[in-house]
């Protein structure tokens, strides 16, 4: 197990080098000039040239990449061209917002999605099942920013009990977490239902029922455990992608998270900030994937990592 984890962590290194090269090439091939953005629309050529020099953009590309990698090896993600702050500091200021939002959204998604899926699966084709599946279809089709705006209208405009934006306290996270959590729970509900339906007709479930195990225990202990593998996969994926920033949700709710930071950096062509945050997210994503893989062995003893 330990050696497996170490091996996976070592595999991260080539992945991250690959990501850094691809991002570097991509952002430099997109038209746009950070010096122009820093200097402002009224600047003349000399102004832009001065800024370009200050930002180190006059060096040849391979030197710029070399400097970047040397910085990385020292644990330095560079300095934002827009704000002149260390990129790592910019990311760490925003990361708590993103991780709280993600965690809350995942909790909401798991509670609602899993329960809805289980109830649907236990009474397939009943009224409850059909209603749940209808709502979940609605949930999948609904753009998350629209749901966000509707939640704002409902709970901070017509019934003003929750703030519509910001990230300065627990209250601020409730609406965005529901916006993200509800949309994701729709997918989870459908997946749980189909995965559980597959298991529920297997022999061992019938055996469990035959020997008189209570129905609740049959579903939650015997059947669900075997249906969990795809469910964990989707939760892990969702967790990883939300940590990469729920861009639209963060924008609608004016939250200062990683997603909005990346968009802002891209619009400004803030090269170090884009590179740094993409690399940061890639790292998180790889780690989350590792954790998901480890979870498989927790729920299914047949999965072994040696």
């Amino acid at each position: 197990m330990i050696s497996y984890i170490l091996k996976r962590l070592l595999q991260m290194i080539p992945t991250l080098i690959g990501v850094s090269i691809i991002v570097f090439i991509l952002i430099h091939s997109v038209p746009g000039d950070p010096a122009r953005m820093v200097a402002g629309p009224e600047a003349n050529e000399q102004d832009i040239e001065r800024v370009r020099d200050r930002l180190g953009l006059n060096d040849p590309l391979h030197i710029q990449y070399g400097n970047y990698v040397i910085g990385l090896l020292k644990g330095d993600l560079g300095t934002s061209m827009r704000s002149d702050r260390p990129v790592l500091e910019e990311i760490l200021t925003r990361f708590p917002t993103t991780i709280i939002l993600t965690t809350m959204a995942i909790i909401i998604m798991v509670i609602i999605g899993l329960l809805a899926g289980i109830f649907s699966a236990t009474k397939p084709n009943s009224l409850l099942d059909n209603t749940t599946m209808m709502f979940s279809l609605f949930g999948i089709s609904m753009p998350v920013f629209w749901l966000g705006l509707m939640l704002i209208l409902a709970f901070s405009y017509y019934i003003p009990i929750l703030p519509s934006g910001g990230n300065s306290g627990f209250k601020h996270f409730i609406l965005p977490a529901f916006a993200v959590g509800l949309s994701s729970s729709a997918i989870l509900a459908r997946l749980t239902r189909s995965s559980l339906l597959e298991v529920i007709h297997q022999d061992y479930v019938r055996t469990a029922r035959a020997k008189g195990v209570k129905e609740r225990s049959v579903i939650f202990v015997h059947a669900l455990k075997n249906a969990l593998i795809p469910i964990i996969t989707i939760i892990g994926l969702e967790f990883g992608s939300l940590l990469g920033g729920a861009v639209l949700t963060e924008t609608v709710f004016s939250m200062n998270g990683i997603g909005r930071f990346i968009i802002q950096s891209i619009q400004f062509r803030d090269y170090p900030a884009i590179q740094g945050s993409i690399l940061f997210i890639a790292t998180i994503f790889v780690i989350v994937n590792l954790i998901v893989d480890l979870c498989y062995s927790l729920v299914d003893p047949r999965v072994k990592y040696d």
Binding site: G32, N44, R82, Y157, S164, F170, S254, N256
Partner: protein, 507 residues
């Protein structure tokens, strides 16, 4: 095992929730919250070129002279000034009762240190050319008198000193090589309390302010990029001031009895640059035809929803040195005639490019114009651009554009800055590649004259020639709308689009 895992997860969530605990940014009492579309980039006035940074800097710093509500230049750190008769210099007499927020006294030496900082090219400050273009040297005449010598005669100097970049920084902070952009030290009525990047910038009142302590305790700047979120936050009282308001939200906000919508004309105009290096547009008749083809009144009424007016000159009507030179009437028949005279065949393809979301209604305006131009027989290829790529395209000599949507804010508020970069032969933002020696001469003449009435006449001549030669499709001058909660007063907007909070107070 599983139970332990759950417990650890629970603990993590708990700790993380604690990180984001409530902090005192409520909009009650003498604390106000303002929401703009972005956050300040730098609090170094000599390096700032975005409106939000400048709006914070106006609170943190004082300048030698400033603007009043009507955009007239009025004294601030200088009590009076005297311009040299030939406009080659200016002498300021300074206030004697001013200290910076770090206790350093303000005097002529402080002014000299500040301007020498921005004039030194090695410092690579982004506002360098605003002053380096005309200031030759700064001379300390006495403790409280300072003289600027200009390279050549420069009439609009006073507006340049009133520009945000003229904010005076504590000379001690400059000597200590402090990071002014993040640790500002000015002499203004508010000082920096806390800045959480991306979340909020909190300024608190400076109790020692030479002009008397201001009424508000704190002013918090919050970045809220989404237009409709900003509007809702103002409606339910989460914030006290918002700017800008999306055009389509203005009417709804006006009906809200807790909110006042202030509409202010600004210096900024929107227009279409016609690339004269393209052979199709060499003939002046074609350029005039483009102007006759566009229905400016409908554009202002239906697309800007009244948030502007039809442009009657190349600069906005509140810019110093403005005079109306009239508009091209909407006359598609005349446009067709002119095109026929110029030998332009029906169905000629031209490109119309626009940024999307950079200027108020920019791409909507462009779509409207596309329809107008197609009516007179052009085949218009329309393209929207992301701003950064668009500004890169403007700078690229090979980009071969035809018609491009552009806007200019004339940030000094003086006609010179609204004309010289855009219409002189070697102007830095002359994207239409316009060149007329008479116009060059008039703009230089206006620059070297210190008398605003005489300059207005000179610029009137220049703008008449520019109108007739039509290097642009002249469209509209903008207004800006600011939303303010009714229990707040003293908020106004300058022509350069800065929302001014210096005199804001609760009713």
């Amino acid at each position: 095992m599983k139970r332990n895992l759950l417990f650890v997860l629970f603990c993590i969530v708990l700790i993380l929730s604690a990180c984001g605990s409530e902090n005192g940014s409520s909009s009650k009492g003498n604390d106000i919250v303002v929401a703009f579309g972005s956050e300040p980039i730098t609090l170094d006035p000599q390096d700032a070129n975005d409106a939000v940074s400048n709006q914070a800097n106006v609170l943190l710093y004082d300048k030698l002279v400033t603007f009043d509500k009507e955009n007239n230049v009025v004294p601030e750190l200088a009590t009076k000034w005297e311009a040299a008769e030939d406009a080659t210099g200016i002498t300021f007499t300074l206030r004697e009762d001013v200290t910076f927020q770090d206790g350093t006294p303000f005097n002529a030496e402080a002014v000299k240190i500040n301007f020498e900082r921005i004039l030194d090219e090695e410092n690579k400050l982004s506002r360098h050319s605003l002053y380096a273009d005309f200031i030759e040297s700064v001379i300390v005449d006495s403790e409280y008198q300072v003289t600027f010598k200009f390279k050549e005669a420069f009439g609009p100097a006073l507006s340049s000193f009133a520009h945000g970049a003229g904010g005076i920084i504590s000379p001690k902070a400059i000597k200590d090589n402090a990071d002014i952009g993040k640790q500002p030290v000015g002499s203004g009525p508010y000082k920096l309390k806390k800045w959480t990047p991306g979340t909020e910038l909190v300024l608190e009142v400076n109790p020692e302010y030479w002009g008397g302590k201001k009424k508000l305790d704190t002013i918090t700047f919050k970045p809220v990029p989404e237009n409709s979120s900003r509007t809702i936050m103002l409606e339910n009282g989460e914030v006290d001031v918002i700017a800008p308001i999306a055009t389509q939200d203005i009417e709804r906000l006006k009906e809200n009895k807790n909110v006042t919508v202030n509409t202010t004309p600004i210096y900024r105009t929107i227009y279409i640059t016609i690339n004269q290096s393209n052979p199709i547009f060499e003939n002046v008749k074609v350029r005039q035809a483009l102007n006759y083809a566009v229905d400016k009144n409908t554009l202002v009424d239906k697309i800007l929803l009244g948030q502007g007016k039809v442009a009657e000159a190349a600069i906005g009507s509140s810019v110093a040195g403005y005079s109306s030179v009239g508009t091209y009437e909407y006359n598609p028949e005349k446009a067709k005639e002119l095109l026929a005279e110029a030998g332009i065949e029906e169905g000629t393809t031209i490109k119309l490019w626009t940024p999307d979301g950079r200027y108020l209604m920019d791409s909507k305006i462009a779509e409207f114009i596309q329809a107008n131009l197609q009516e007179v027989g052009f085949n218009v290829e329309f393209q929207k651009w992301e701003w950064s790529a668009y500004s890169n395209m403007l700078d690229d000599p090979d980009s071969d554009y035809d018609l491009i949507v552009n806007s200019w804010g004339t940030s000094t508020g003086d006609a010179d800055w609204g004309l010289r970069p855009l219409f002189t032969t070697d102007g830095s933002n002359n994207y239409s590649n316009y060149s007329n020696s008479e116009v060059d001469k008039l703009i230089t003449e206006g620059l070297s004259n210190p008398n605003i009435e005489e300059r207005t006449k000179i610029y009137n001549k220049a703008m008449n020639i520019i109108k007739d030669e039509a290097p642009w499709i002249f469209l509209a001058e903008y207004q800006t709308a600011t939303g303010v909660r009714n229990d707040l007063q003293g908020v106004y907007t300058w022509g350069n689009e800065y929302v001014i909070l210096r005199d804001a107070e609760r009713k």
